[in-house]
Amino acid sequence: MKTDAVDIVLESQPDINVELNGSQIQHDLPTEEMLVNMGPQHPATHGVLRIVLRTDGEMVLEAVPHIGYLHRCAEKIGETVAPYQYIPYTDRMDYLAGMNNNLGFALAVEKLTGLEQEISKRATYIRIIFAELNRIASHLVAFGTYGLDIGAITPFLYAFREREYILDLFESACGARLTYSYITIGGVTDDLPDKFVEICSEFLDYFEPKVKEYNNLLSHNHIFVKRTADIGVITGEEALDYGLTGPVLRGSGVRWDLRKVRPHCSYDEFEFDVPVGQGLKGTVGDCWDRYIVRIQEMEQSVKIIRQALEKLRGTEGQDVLHKKGKTIKLPDDDIYFEIENPRGQLGFYVQGNGAAIPARVKARGPSFCNLCVTDKVCRDVLLADVAAIIGSLDVVMGEVDR
């Protein structure tokens, strides 16, 4: 078949035809390999990811991801604006978990400037509530779109039904539904609206049984298990080697969660478990494990939010926004700080030079690091498995390309 786009790929990236040392399939008939361009516009790539597949019939011999279609110079912009002005840009990195991105950058800057000691307890708890709510919202999208990748359309709508309520909660607090900029340097922009605590706990009561519904609908569905178990297995060592973090790492059976092993934001005051993949349906570290870890994390987040709402009780009246947040000057020093995002560890490297504007801002997006394992996992799998594997890594291209 003649397709211009792939011809261009061949010319500009000659290394796509690198010989594989891995398993060569024995053929009795000589077959011709075909290069297929999956993306940048493809329903299974969750945005503008482009994967060049080298296929033999339905078998995928090699999958090379090409990224950069959504590159928006976020790091360059970081060198031209003050930290509090940079908060909205962090929203647009992982646009499904804007609160967590805000939190990551705010914590990094606060740690660099020593402001972190002066954040009020109330602001910290509000931050935790919103970060965890956003974790639920983000995992709901991951759950729904993973269903779509496997071909089940209904779970997507179920997930969005619940996510809608979370977005309503966000909207009541900060007015935005996707790019919040709510958590900022020095606290949060505004105190909670009236009755937020009651409505939030009602939502949690409503949401908890829904997780069981998801499990009945999708997690234990026979076809779903057949499609995801034993597919795209990543062992714990491989996961660490490739720098995978978050549910992808935990799905490989590594009990590692920054909220536990190096608590930020007073997460150490909270009681919760860290679910890891146990290979219930197949091998440890397969797609199903990565998927089920997200489902279980939603339950844990509910637990955390309940405790945080409880802790919020005695803190009325505390100032939720520190006055120095907007006027802060960065010292001549640098920091690298990571928090646990829904997709993994989001790290910010911030370097100051005594001015109000940082000299260098670098974001380490978890999706970026998780995606680099594609090349390794998508070898000698079927075409349909590529969709399953990419979906189980749950990448957000806004964060990969920044």
Partner: protein, 164 residues
């Protein structure tokens, strides 16, 4: 009315047959083949030979399908890649065509058409009759054909098996 139908379907068959030979693209040839076989099936319908017509459709549609799949798999470059016959192939084809033409014309010329034209045709046999005949009078040819197909299936499975 039947005459009209006959001419229409005969024209379809013949034109598609010309298309098979004239087209240099294997998939287009296969589609033309489908047209020919479909036209012949419709002729059978016109002649009230329903069973034959339906069998023609179900068997040859499947056959054309497989042919098409092979055509796509073996020439998977573009719809515009054609093939050209070598001189030897043309000579062979002409020879076969002449032989067939001679054979068929001999058959047509020597057949006793007048008999069937005058005597009213027996109403077309029902499926039940055909089935009974297959399992009684023609049992041996039927079984031989089945065994042949079985051998073909085993052979195909053997050929398609991956060498380990």
């Amino acid at each position: 009315m039947d005459d009209l139908a006959f001419y229409i379907f005969a024209a379809v068959s013949l034109l598609s047959a010309i298309g098979i030979v004239a087209s240099s693209n294997i998939v287009r040839s296969a589609v033309c083949l489908l047209g020919t076989l479909g036209g012949v099936a419709c002729l059978y319908f016109v002649l009230d030979a329903n069973l034959l017509a339906v069998i023609q459709l179900i068997v040859y549609a499947g056959g054309t399908l497989v042919l098409m799949v092979f055509g796509i798999m073996l020439t998977s470059k573009s719809p515009w890649v054609g093939f050209r016959a070598t001189r030897g192939q043309v000579a062979g084809a002409v020879l076969v065509a002449i032989l067939m033409a001679v054979g068929i014309s001999t058959l047509v010329l020597t057949a006793e058409w007048s008999q069937s034209a005058n005597a009213p045709l027996k109403t077309s046999p029902s499926v039940a009759e055909v089935g009974e005949m297959l399992l009684t009078d023609y049992l041996v040819p039927f079984e031989v054909a089945s065994v042949l197909l079985l051998v073909v299936m085993i052979g195909a499975a053997y050929l398609a098996r991956t060498e380990k």
